[in-house]
Subunit: 252 residues, 2 copies
DNA sequence: CGGAAATTTGAAATCGCTCAATGATAGTGG
DNA sequence: CCACTATCATTGAGCGATTTCAAATTTCCG
């Protein structure tokens, strides 16, 4: 059995054993998906959220039948579907970009977590704010930068996230995204993404082969992309000082 | 003394008196800003968050010296600066679009709220997810729609939010945004925003005069914009069933 | 091995941008 | 209250980054 990855929690503080247990308890049933399979669909009633245990997942929104915007590339350890809990009907469609393993978390389990583990709850809250920052950066890139900058930014974004977990990302990494996917993420046409990849390759900044990607000149890519590498807080005093758990007998 | 507006809380559930008190207690010092005054600047260390009591505020990010993206138009009742709590240095710059009144909330006070008022904490969490949905819609509009659609979407977005609080918005509303501001929000040039406003006016969809705006044909604008009018959850069982408050004596 | 999905390339069209100049509005101090 | 100045809105002309359309390869997957 694959262990639940805790990356998104550990970014802000190291969970105590009983907090880890609370997380493990919240996720119940596990589901497997094949590449290209739809996990949840835009417009469906919202009943649960998910934890991505393994694989890549794309979250996207259909604007009209021919246009869709990818709003997030989810990697292992990410929560999926959280924005939908504010809605009666889901805003995003989730599609597996690779074979993927997912744990289902009920909304009731989430509520119990807020009641019993306030520090973990606050961590989840901070994590939601982090997602907002990433969306803001994405919006700024799409709104204010050129095609080559947006594609470079997307490459750097994925690279930086992979490197947090696996240092070998510097020697190249699996790249399951089609050029059509990149187009939907960077808000470009697939044709222009193709030309932009070709240009980056010609400049010696990236190398592509099969479904692998390697960034050859990261400093130069960062210079081009103008995409901020955010420094997130780590164990801030206002977070660590909160009580870790409310014993069950104190809850009526 | 102006009362603290609670719009963003009341969207998801009606706070109990002691929850209202907890909110009032969290906000301490009040500050006043003039139009165009900077409230907080991108890159500064993050020490506090704010509640917008009165006025409009723009949150924007500078991509380079000549390009900036407005990521949110804040109206009374909005929390300001929440995304920054995940960061060591602020990502957004806040500027008052009108004269504005703001309450300062310390991060410690926020922590106490998570410890003491779990239901309120969960409401804040859901509210953060709502903000993510709005950012996703914004990103989809900027990435996938034409100039006239983006400007229509921005107008509708503001109109819908104002109407929640004040029905007279249908008869026109104050419009403190310059065309340069609209340009930064919709990711267009100010010149093109001007031409797009002129077009909307020529089509009989809007009327502008001085710093007022009136939407003349909302159904047609909605048709053009293709901007979703989200239905947010209201008092969902998984939120209302959480215990309202942990008595102080149960906290060591 | 066959069919579907994805990539690549060319040519033509377009939406929105930049530059530049003029006109209107609003805020400020005398 | 008026004049002065900065900000904001408007309009024209030319250009260019990216799109669309179309067709040919190549790769992937069952």
């Amino acid at each position: 059995v694959k262990h639940v990855p805790l990356h998104r929690f550990q970014e802000f503080l190291t969970p105590t054993p009983c907090e880890v247990e609370a997380i493990e308890r919240a996720g119940r049933s596990r589901r497997e998906f094949r590449r290209r399979q739809v996990i949840s669909r835009q417009g469906e009633p919202v009943k649960e959220v998910y934890l991505l245990v393994d694989g890549w997942v794309a979250a996207s929104m259909e604007v009209d039948s021919s246009r869709r915007q990818m709003v997030k590339i989810h990697l292992p350890g990410d929560f999926l579907g959280f924005p939908n809990i504010a809605l009666a009907r889901a805003a995003e469609t989730m599609v597996a970009l690779t074979a993927a393993t997912i744990d289902v978390i009920s909304l009731d389990a989430l509520g119990r977590l807020f009641e019993r583990a306030p520090r973990l709850a606050f961590t989840l809250f901070v994590s939601a704010q982090q997602e907002r920052v990433m969306l803001m950066d994405h919006l700024a890139a799409v709104g204010q930068t050129s095609a080559i900058q947006r594609v470079s930014a997307l490459l750097l974004h994925v690279y930086r996230r992979l490197k947090l977990v696996d240092d070998r990302a510097a020697e190249g990494f699996d790249w399951p995204l089609s050029q059509e996917h990149v187009a939907q993420g960077a808000a470009l046409s697939a044709v222009h993404v193709n030309r932009t990849f070709a240009k980056l390759e010609r400049l010696g900044l990236i190398a592509r082969e099969r479904r692998r990607m390697k960034l050859l000149d990261i400093p130069r890519l960062e210079e081009i992309a103008a995409f901020p590498d955010r420094l997130f807080v780590r164990e801030p005093p206002w977070l660590t000082s909160i009580r870790e758990e409310i014993p069950p007998d104190e809850i009526s």
